[in-house]
Amino acid sequence: MQTTLAALAVITVGYILAYLIFDRLRDRYGYVGGAEYVVLGFLLGPRVTGLLDAGQVQDLTPIVSLALGWLGMLLGTYFRLPTMALIEGDYLRVALAEAVATFGIALAALLALFRYVVEAPWPDAAVLAGTLAAVATLSSPIAVDAVVDRIRIRSRVPPVLQLAARMDALVAVVAFGLVLAIFHRGDVAPGVRPPTPTEWAVINVAVGVASGVLFHLFLGPRGHLDEGRLFVALAGAIVVASGASYYLNLSPIFTNLVLGVILVNSGGAHRDVARLLLSTERPVYLALLLFAGAAWSPGSVDLLFMAPLFVLIRVGARFLGGAIAGGYVAPAELGAQGLGRGLLALGGLGVALALNYGQVYPDLHPRLVLTATLLAVLLFEIVASREASAFLLSLGQRAEPGAGEEADAEELEPVPGPG
């Protein structure tokens, strides 16, 4: 326990230093980031200074599981049906098509890579490809929101872009949850029949649903609690859902996504829940990035060959997926053919998936998955904002500040997804 406490202390000192340096830069020069926390974690980790050794990093895994669950729940809170019902059908179709097409293209390419180039057995290739395809599908809602907010244009594309980022996250998390259920790892107690993949998937959803029901029973008929007890109920629901998923080798992100969807679609506490989650989003997100950096131990083959290939596949899938959705699903007058160009930022949820993968499949190239994800996060952070800005500017005339606000506000609840 001593080492865990020391590890937490080191991470905090690192966090404060990063804050003092980078957030000042952001305040002064408009620098938007998060990757610096990965770098900082890497510097503190066993590969560089060794202030955090491998054992300490491993010890923090349960806390990471909670953070994963927290981000999953935050994502789930976006999908509030009454708000979604206000969104134009075309927008939803385009966003969903973009996400599914991107995932499908990335999955096909990665499956081919792992099965025929790396010559991994089919199940291993499927797990690796499914996970990395999920990561490739993700796009950062925060980054997209920041660009849309900064570049105000007279076009219907920005809300589609924002919606697509959320749909990407939804498709990625669900796909990853299914990978973990279908290719489940871990033994059951003696004398118990191991559940089938379908049953594992149902158990994963059921844990989320049960946690959601529990939360509502906690709130009671009045539908609200004071802040302290709301925190207990929310934290308790997340700990139960994440703990159960972690215990069963399932995805805490997926379970908590289900929990989040239930919470915002039933009862009257959705605003309180969303507010509470948003207030804790940033520290959880940064802690994950720091942890990922510390846990990062890239092999040279991964770094020089596989990770760059993944980055290329992601770029291809993004552009193709965007082109398919924008060209074939979207109405021609929308002009959204280059949608993928606006969705390059990867963000923290990808890191969360990679960490979750490492927890469940510690013997199936977790370093490769984390290396590919972190490299993508770092690289896309450099180019994503510029590309998204260029894409939006290419669509049309810039609007006066505030001109696009009303339409956007009608359609999108101001609850950003994680990372």
Binding site: P62, I63, L217, G236, I238, G243
Partner: protein, 430 residues
């Protein structure tokens, strides 16, 4: 009521249903521990709400929930899980110490120093001397005193009594937070309990050294013992000043993500306290006090944040305290436990009444302050563990009896204090 029973059924049923779907694995915090921690947290909160409905303090519900799920009754939360979650308990103690320090205002202390001083002095003296006498009278029935000769028996009885002079800052703060009580009774009780925390560490260490020397197990001279004692207390205060300084700088220059920062600060202090042998509770108490009263920054953001996290922290602390209780171990000792516990309540009452009279306390303080000084919890349990660890011959037997008495005080004390606050008219919530 039905809704809460459904919650409990779901929680316990869920824990039992999912258990066989995975072979338990190891780890600093095993995967199962995290899940069971969530179950414990929600169950305790539900029991707390049930207790509230029945006009009991919530924390009695938390304790009962812990006891019910813990190894003593249902065994859903086994000892290994509690061990895994020990850091949560440390976190709870640290956060509450910080809140307690920040709640202690120089202005209030200066205004009531006479009342606090007299109540503290006489309550401590009455309990220490009265319980020593009571234990000596009952020595023929007390297992760990039966084999001892004079003067060892006197010093061991004194150590036993010193452990039972301890009050509970956790219970006091939990109740004051729950009831949002304000008034002379709340302020005086908080002042007595917090200052007593420092005094008791000194008293216990002195009694422990005497008992150890009389049993022939002393390895240090009186001057060395005194030096060690002073080092621990002064070290805790210096560490508290340092932590207070760090907190002040953070509040001055960073301010963001205060919850995360404070949580990790508590963990870091706990690690340092173990390595450098100072008191976690005392150091963070001093830190909170300095930030509130001395530091050139506004402490409101810190205090507000601590009040928000206080609720889950109390749930965690008392649920785990309940789960830690082993009813079976003091099954045979209950008549003795009851006799000593009731004797202690009588001594607390007499000492507090006398102290309040000499300290010219307000009538409500004179009448009800004793109710706030019955509870015992974490600090007393910590001292009992030290006795068990360092006095191997009789320490374990003594610990069993002390834990039994603490369990009684932990259950009865909050009910008494809530009643006292209610009758004093200081409760702000119903």
């Amino acid at each position: 009521m039905i809704r809460r029973l459904v919650v409990l059924t779901l929680l316990v049923g869920g824990a039992v249903l999912l258990e066989p779907l995975r072979v338990p694995t190891e780890g600093v915090i095993a995967p199962r521990s995290l899940f069971l921690f969530g179950i414990l947290l929600l169950t305790a909160d539900t029991f707390g709400a049930l207790a509230h409905d029945l006009k009991f303090p919530r924390l009695v519900g938390y304790l009962v929930a812990g006891l019910a799920l813990g190894p003593s009754v249902l065994g859903i939360v086994p000892p290994g899980v509690l061990q895994d979650l020990a850091m949560m308990k440390q976190l709870a103690v640290g956060l509450i110490a910080l809140l307690a320090g920040a709640e202690l205002r120089i202005r209030d202390l200066v205004q009531r120093y006479r009342t606090i001083g007299w109540i503290l002095a006489l309550q401590t003296a009455f309990v220490l001397l009265g319980l020593t006498a009571l234990v000596l009278i009952l020595r023929a029935w007390i297992p760990f005193l039966q084999q001892l000769e004079f003067p060892s028996v006197l010093f061991v009885a004194l150590l036993f009594a010193a452990t039972l002079t301890v009050n509970s800052p956790m219970v006091t703060l939990a109740l004051l937070t729950e009831t949002r009580a304000e008034g002379p009774l709340a302020k005086t009780t908080l002042g007595v309990v917090l200052v007593a925390d420092v005094l008791v560490v000194l008293l216990f260490t002195a009694a422990f050294s005497l008992a150890q020397a009389s049993l022939g197990g002393a390895t240090a001279s009186a001057s060395e013992t005194l030096f060690r004692l002073l080092r621990e207390v002064v070290g805790s205060m210096l560490a508290g000043a340092l932590i207070g300084g760090v907190l002040t700088l953070y509040l001055r220059f960073v301010r963001r993500e205060l919850v995360v920062f404070v949580i990790v600060l508590v963990f870091a202090t706990a690690a340092a306290a173990q390595a450098l042998h100072f008191e976690l509770l005392l150091s963070l108490l001093v830190a909170g006090f300095l930030v509130e009263n001395v530091a050139p920054v506004r402490a409101e953001p810190l205090v507000e944040m601590l009040h928000v996290v206080a609720v889950p922290v109390f749930v965690i602390f008392f649920a785990m305290a309940g789960a830690d209780l082993r009813l079976q171990t003091f099954r045979d000792l209950w008549p003795l436990i009851l006799a000593v516990a009731l004797g202690r309540i009588g001594l607390v009452y007499a000492g507090t009444r006398a102290g309040a009279r000499l300290g010219a306390a307000e009538p409500v303080v004179a009448r009800y302050a004793w109710t706030g000084l019955v509870s015992q919890a974490g600090v007393a349990l910590g001292l009992a563990t030290i006795v068990a660890d360092r006095l191997p011959r009789l320490g374990l037997a003594m610990q069993t009896m002390i834990v039994g008495i603490i369990a009684f005080n932990e259950s009865v004390g909050p009910v008494l204090f809530r009643g006292g606050l209610d009758r004093a008219g200081e409760i702000r919530t119903r």
